[in-house]
């Protein structure tokens, strides 16, 4: 008789009773604190509900959301376009081209976006006559266009680093294999290397879009009436803190929804890599 096959007559052990450890107590206290904070925010929003303010500032806030989304989409797309030559420069073996791309990337990643925005928006004012002569003044006069320009240049630097890093991360064996099959470098790049690199770059790109949504609030400082700008306007008129709380809720929901959507997309695109 083999004792391995003998069915166990013992009952499974009773589930462990969860003890009141310090960690559990702290966790409960902190969750209670969050719940309290959440409830007080709901309370502020319910008590502070004012149809007059809603009618007056609601549409403004909605248009602000539109401006923010437009600003982010335009900047990210333009930035992606600019990032291609910059990434090519970062990967180039030519020291001069590489140096220029590195300098570009270092400047835009090493200085605050707010300072860059001031540099473009107010800095352009110093060259009014020249810009008027070239016919670019209509562009630089507008805070919104200046914000789009600055944000595009800024995100291009970050996106170039993401792209260059992802291309570098593709093993050199892929290049060699394509080479030995007689593929031209151009074909290798677009058919072999980029598809693999973009999968690696997917997550950092998602982070960059989220960072851009958050950074776009800076446009409000140079008088662009995006979500943050409309919020600041409404706050300066009413001195009512619930407007900031509404803005916070809108930003949080936007970022969270985007994060979840991006995760879904990533799962879908990398399903062939999972086992």
């Amino acid at each position: 008789m083999s004792y391995i096959d003998a069915p166990s007559t013992e009952r499974p052990p009773a589930a462990l009773r969860r003890r009141w450890t310090a960690a559990r107590f702290t966790g409960l206290a902190l969750m209670a604190l969050w719940a309290l904070l959440g409830l007080s925010i709901v309370y502020i929003l319910v008590v502070g509900y004012d149809p007059e303010k809603l009618a007056k500032y609601g549409p403004r806030i909605l248009s602000g959301i539109g401006v923010t989304l437009k600003l982010v989409v335009m900047s990210v797309l333009l930035g992606a376009l600019i990032s291609i030559p910059v990434a090519a420069g970062r990967l180039s073996s030519n020291p001069i081209i590489g140096g220029i791309a590195f300098g570009y990337s270092y400047f835009f990643r090493g200085t605050p976006l707010l300072a860059q925005t001031f540099l473009v928006y107010y800095g352009a004012g110093q060259f009014t006559d020249t810009l008027k002569a070239v016919g670019l003044w209509v562009f630089f006069r507008d805070a919104y266009f200046c914000a789009v320009l600055t944000f595009s240049l800024n995100t291009a630097a970050y996106q170039a680093e993401i792209l260059a890093g992802a291309i570098r991360a593709v093993p050199s064996g892929q290049w060699q294999a394509a080479d030995s099959l007689g593929l031209r470098p151009f074909t290798t790049m677009f058919k072999i290397v980029l598809p693999q690199a973009l999968i690696t770059a997917l997550r950092p790109y998602g982070n960059e879009v989220i960072l851009m949504i958050k950074a776009s609030a800076i446009a409000s400082i140079i008088t662009v009436l995006d979500l943050m700008g409309q919020t600041r306007y409404a706050f300066s008129k009413t001195y009512d803190l619930q407007i900031y709380i509404w803005a916070a809720v809108i930003y949080l929901v936007t970022v969270e929804v985007l994060r979840r959507l991006w995760e879904l997309m990533e799962r879908r695109l990398t399903r062939h890599l999972r086992r």
């Binding site: 400047f107 605050p112 300072a115 001031f118 110093q126 060259f127 609030a217």
Partner: protein, 236 residues
């Protein structure tokens, strides 16, 4: 050219001393925020690493909020919200309103943002430390707190340093936001200089360069710190 040098000179006619004072405020604000942010970030990472689900969730709520909000909005919420809340409290307790310090508000807001990112860095560093390190320490009879302090933390510093270096550079840049709530940091003083001299492009370019110099100096310093942290690793 001489004109520009004149603008940057120290003294009554130039703006060099104002900009230097601004740099000082920027740097001290970042340095003052760092220990607070590191401490909160470490505690949040410990909570996320806990086996207790309540504690984990509480920590995740914290990160979700402060990583999801624009830094500028966090700053305004702390500044104006703190002002309103503290004023109500002060009037109740002492009968006169309270004036919130923009330096303090900036420090708190930056520490909240920094710590929520730092907690993620610490968390992934925790994952780089094998279970055997804990088991070995317990087998030697070290208590939980001494294991953390003597065995885990020194390794954690090494693993977290690259991520924390990036966060420090971000912090240095994020300090520019406090200029909006009236703190006379580098960007605020630059704004004042522009208002008087109308040399916007020149002064903002100088400000950007100064931020760049601060980043470069930080990078050198961080390289030294990293070499120190890696000293026990040997060369491969």
């Amino acid at each position: 050219m001489a004109n520009y040098m004149e603008l940057l000179s120290f003294g009554d006619s130039g703006w060099g001393d104002e900009l230097a004072r601004g740099v000082l405020v920027t740097v001290t604000l970042a340095i003052a925020t760092l220990p607070l942010g590191l401490l909160i970030g470490f505690l949040i990472a410990l909570a996320k690493n806990s086996s207790e689900p309540l504690l984990r969730n509480a920590a995740h709520v914290y990160t979700t909020i402060f990583r999801g909000l624009p830094e500028l909005l966090t700053l305004f919420l702390i500044y104006y919200g703190g002002q309103i809340a503290m004023s109500a409290l002060w009037r109740l307790l002492f009968g006169y309103p309270f004036e919130i310090n923009s330096y303090l508000a900036g420090m708190i807001a930056l520490a909240l943002v920094f710590s929520s990112y730092a907690s993620e860095v610490f968390l992934s560093a925790f994952k780089g430390i094998t279970l055997g390190q804990y088991e070995g320490a317990y087998a030697l009879g070290l208590s939980r707190s001494r294991t953390m302090l003597l065995v885990i933390l020194p390794q954690l510093v090494r693993l977290a340093l690259p991520g924390l270096s990036n966060l420090w550079l971000n912090l240095l840049k994020d300090t520019s936001l406090v200029s909006v709530i009236g703190l006379t940091d580098l960007l605020r003083n630059t704004n004042i200089a522009v208002g008087v001299t109308k040399q916007a492009f020149f002064f903002f370019f100088v400000a950007c360069s100064l931020y760049l110099v601060m980043s470069i100096i930080s990078s050198f310093g961080l390289r030294r710190v990293s070499a120190w942290a890696e000293r026990g690793q040997g060369r491969h």
